[in-house]
């Protein structure tokens, strides 16, 4: 514990995350920052720039592209790739693409497994990364609450929950055998509200989909799905309507639900969050598939 009493909570969280990122760079051979193009990744990237300033980022960014992200996310990615001092790697599971795996015919489980989980393993093996930063937070759901900040993966990328190392103070044991790797979660102790407050404090650019605007959506199984391109087949009786919506999390557009909202600024988004009655992951299809789904996915190598 640091003498945090004189710092605001955002300063404390920021310092903790920067400390973690520097620790990885000091101790690991070849780290990478996974960038899902969402708000948590944006915060991580911002923290990384601060951590290593004035040096450029000592690791590349990696985007696992399922090919089904929102168009606005791809625009944001291009913008990032053009910023100075940034190396953006993009990996697509071409084998999955060849097999025509997609979220519409195969459903969220198979699509996520092939295009995200398998793709991630391929990329990590291909580049030989031994540490990967991820933006997961412990407040996201129950199974994350007890995940370590430094989380070990076997050479097969499996998470062995029976064999986790205790984390005391800020002393992180990064020793590993050949082939093993670490997932590192610098935002472990941040909540959704912290992330938004920090984005506001630091004026961090994020994908505009987080702000309300009129967008074409269809109502499907209680969710609002945005018709982001022509690949989304309309079901009988479905006609896109134009609603003022925004997103709390971003993923593959056919699997991500919008919420009706008028929040067009960070202040409004934060105010809305404070009065919200729905949890963040409510809009993600993957969590509803199965009760213990996260736990299982993690053991199989999902981030």
């Amino acid at each position: 514990m640091m003498t945090t009493s004189s710092l605001t909570h955002l300063q404390s969280l920021e310092a903790e995350s920067i400390f973690i990122m520097r620790e990885v760079v000091a101790e690991c051979r070849k780290p990478v920052l996974l960038n899902s193009l969402g708000k948590d990744s944006a915060v991580m990237l911002h923290l990384a720039r601060k951590a290593f300033h004035p040096a450029a980022l000592p690791f590349p960014l990696l985007h696992i592209d399922t090919t089904w992200k929102f168009r606005a996310m791809y625009e944001y990615r291009e913008h990032l790739a053009r910023s100075s001092g940034m190396q953006m790697l993009v990996h697509i599971n071409t084998e999955g693409l060849r097999q025509g795996i997609n979220p519409i015919t195969h459903g969220s489980q198979i699509h996520t497994d092939v295009m995200k989980t398998q793709a991630l393993k391929q990329a990590l093996d291909h580049y030989g990364f031994d540490a990967a930063f991820g933006g997961a937070r412990r407040d996201e759901e129950k199974s994350r609450a007890k995940e370590r900040i430094f989380s070990f993966r076997t050479a097969q990328h499996r998470w062995d929950p029976k064999n986790q190392r205790p984390e005391l103070w800020t002393l992180y044991n990064t020793d590993k055998h050949n082939g093993e790797s670490i997932r590192v979660f610098p935002l472990s102790n941040w909540t959704e509200l912290d992330v938004w407050q920090y984005i506001r404090r630091e004026a961090i650019p994020i994908v505009p989909l987080y702000f309300a605007a009129e967008r074409p959506v269809v109502r499907r199984d209680g969710a609002l799905i945005m018709v982001d391109d022509e690949r989304l087949p309309l079901r009988p009786g479905e006609t896109p309507e134009r609603l003022t919506v925004r997103f709390r999390t971003l993923g593959c557009y056919p699997l991500t639900s919008a919420i009706e909202s008028n929040a067009t600024s960070l202040d409004e988004v934060i105010a809305e969050l404070l009065h919200s009655s729905r949890s963040e992951r409510h809009g993600r299809a993957i969590d509803h598939d199965d009760e213990a789904s996260m736990e299982k996915k993690k053991q199989e190598g999902y981030f």
């Binding site: 514990m1 640091m2 003498t3 945090t4 009493s5 004189s6 710092l7 605001t8 909570h9 955002l10 300063q11 404390s12 920021e14 310092a15 920067i18 400390f19 520097r22 620790e23 760079v25 000091a26 720039r49 601060k50 951590a51 290593f52 300033h53 004035p54 040096a55 450029a56 412990r138 407040d139 129950k142 609450a145 007890k146 929950p161 029976k162 064999n163 986790q164 190392r165 205790p166 984390e167 005391l168 103070w169 800020t170 002393l171 044991n173 020793d175 590993k176 472990s188 102790n189 909540t191 509200l193 912290d194 407050q197 506001r200 404090r201 919200s276 009655s277 729905r278 949890s279 213990a292």
Partner: protein
């Protein structure tokens, strides 16, 4: 919460015995801080009706559910972290389940906590468990605790009961450094958690939440001058060299004089570099990058400190150790030690005692098993700058890592440096055998294994080396293979060549011992005179003759390499034991009777001998 000016973050740990109401209390805090969403609430309400213990009311304990299922799957649950916030503060709660591995869990959770909430069941009072929790949190440096006297509804909101419990706890906590505030509450009903109870007009103190929101914590490192472990050297190009780190204590200003430790070199802070721009000063808790006006070379693991009040440096300490792994902590073994940003090699010396965490009594100990706590001495391979843990968690807390499995096997807290180490490293020594030996942290010597061909010398040498190596010793094995193929390529097996062979091996060993190594020689070396000549090259106690004593009948029966058969049939000349004599040692330091010892036992005898020898050093 006002993010810009909030008074910050409070990390606390909750401790309680099973069913004292810990889950209910945390669930209630999350609920009351309005951090539960409709979908979570709906799930909770459904679960409460189905398996709750509170009729139609919400059973908050179910919010944190998941742990029992995990336990069945054998998942290591040490600590779960929960978050909530009010408009005054943000809170991180370390929730350590109170079952097996309790010590390990609590110690992990307490290591980052500034305060502990210890629950007692008003009906049961202060239990052995309560004392154990109190001991562990105070051991980890927590000074503030809230005694949450829970389930007060079940004793009729009795003031008398509450006050007697408070008195009882105070008596017991008297001889600890703990500062305690007792609060009567009902986690299930919500009394005095975030709302003042209507049932206890006699209670004038704060609710739990009021207390947590307003408590002023005196940081443990408060009062310590500037210290910053160098975490990473930022060197983007020739013209910039910055030292990145998190300030552990005190404050630093551009232009301040500082000292780099353990080298002791003085320097001046040139700039305090951050992404937002240079700062004029920076205080404890912040991550910064410092540049120096002097061109001195620092690396990760060094500490920058206030020049007029630097921390001490030492390489031998007394420390508390807590075993965190199923593999016990063994004295004599060498571990990797992480402290601050430094990684060093540490040997645990024989333990002074272990602590019974129920009675706080000292018991004798040979080793520390999982969840045991003990006090012992540590010997490092080089000096480090440190503070006693009591004064600084950052410069006094450490972990030990197993060199082979890479597991974190212990946590520890430095007490103080041992006298004998403090003055030594400042003197410049002549680089001689003693200096090299000290640098290697070991007593050099040669382990000379003699015996018949096939007796097991090389196997024993290799296994002994492995164990010495694992214990952090610097070793080298000389045997027929690596010597006869190179240095002694020109020698055969005549008596004269055998003598020369041994002479050269003895001389090479001598050089290696002079370099501070432990050398294992495994040669038949059949003649007493040559072994005596070899011994004469070394100082007292440096030559350890090991007689690997196997009978000719045994080795000939096994004849692993088929050499005896070839010797008997006359294909090999001058073969020891057949047509060349073997003269057994008269007073070997170690006599291994291979007809009675297993290989493991033989190896252990040698390793044990070396361990004692090192300890006497």
């Amino acid at each position: 919460m006002d993010a810009e000016s909030g008074p910050g973050l409070l990390r606390f740990i909750t401790c309680g015995s099973v069913d004292d109401g810990k889950s209910t209390l945390i669930g209630r805090l999350l609920y009351d801080s309005k951090l539960l969403f409709e979908d979570q609430l709906a799930a909770l309400s459904a679960a409460s009706k189905k398996s709750g213990t509170r009729g139609d009311d919400l059973d908050f304990a179910l919010l944190l559910d998941g742990l029992s299922a995990e336990r069945e799957q054998g998942i290591t649950i040490d600590v779960a972290y929960r978050f909530f916030a009010t408009n005054k503060r943000k809170f991180i709660v370390a929730d350590a389940p109170g079952h097996e591995q309790y010590t390990r869990n609590m110690v992990t959770g307490a290591s980052t906590a500034e305060l502990a909430v210890i629950l007692v069941d008003a009906r049961k009072g202060v239990l052995t468990q309560t004392r154990r929790h109190s001991y562990l949190v105070s051991l980890l440096g927590i000074r503030r605790i809230v005694l949450a006297v829970n389930k007060i509804d079940l004793v009729g909101y009795s003031q008398e009961r509450f006050e007697s419990l408070e008195r009882e706890y105070r008596q017991f906590a008297e001889h600890t450094a703990l500062r305690m505030t007792a609060i009567p509450m009902s986690a299930a009903e919500g009394d005095n958690v975030s709302e003042r109870s209507r049932h206890m007009p006699w209670y004038r103190g704060p609710t739990l939440l009021q207390y947590l929101e307003t408590v002023q914590l005196d940081a443990p490192a408060a009062g310590l001058p500037f210290r910053m472990p160098v975490q990473w050297v930022n060197r983007p190009h020739q013209d910039f060299r910055g030292y990145a780190g998190r300030i552990a204590s005190g404050e630093i200003r551009a232009g301040d004089r500082a000292v780099a430790l353990p080298s002791g070199r003085e320097c001046r802070i040139e700039r305090i570099v951050t992404w937002e721009g240079d700062l004029a000063s920076a205080a404890s808790g912040l991550c910064v990058t410092l540049t120096l006006t002097e061109d001195i070379d620092l690396s990760r693991g060094d500490v920058l400190a206030a020049a007029d009040a630097p921390p001490p440096s030492a390489d031998q300490f007394e420390a508390t150790l807590i075993a965190l792994h199923a593999n016990a902590i063994l004295p004599g073994r060498s571990y990797k030690m992480k402290i601050g940003s430094a990684t060093v090699s540490a040997i645990v010396a024989p333990l002074k005692y272990k602590i019974d965490i129920n009675s706080w009594q000292h018991l004798p100990a040979e080793r520390l098993e999982l969840n045991e706590i003990g006090v012992g001495e540590l010997e490092l391979d080089r000096p480090i700058a440190f503070e006693p843990y009591e004064r600084s968690r950052e410069l006094g807390g450490f972990i030990l890592i197993d060199r082979i499995t890479h597991d974190t096997v212990a946590a520890g807290m430095l007490h103080f440096a041992l006298r004998r180490s403090q003055n030594v490293h400042w003197q410049t020594l002549d680089v001689n055998k003693q200096a090299r030996a000290a640098q290697n942290g070991q007593r050099p010597g040669v382990i000379w294994l003699t015996g018949l061909s096939g007796a097991g010398k090389s196997t024993i040498a290799n296994l002994v080396e492995k164990q010495l190596h694992a214990a952090g010793r610097r070793t080298y094995v000389l045997d027929g293979d690596n010597i006869r193929h190179g240095l002694n390529k020109d020698l055969g097996f005549t008596e004269q060549d055998r003598v020369e062979n041994i002479r050269r091996v003895a001389e090479v060993s001598k050089l290696m011992v002079d370099a501070g190594l432990i050398v294992l020689v495994s040669f038949i070396s059949p003649f007493r005179a040559e072994r005596r000549a070899a011994r004469a090259l070394f100082g007292a106690g440096e030559f350890i003759e090991v007689f690997v004593d196997a009978t000719l009948a045994d080795v000939e029966r096994r004849d692993v390499k088929g050499l005896y058969r070839r010797a008997r049939s006359g294909q090999l000349k001058n073969f020891t034991g057949i047509d060349s004599p073997y003269e057994p040692p008269e007073q070997a330091e170690i006599h291994l009777d291979m007809s009675r010892l297993t290989l493991e036992q033989a190896v252990e005898r040698v390793v044990e001998f070396m361990r004692r020898r090192q300890a006497e050093a």
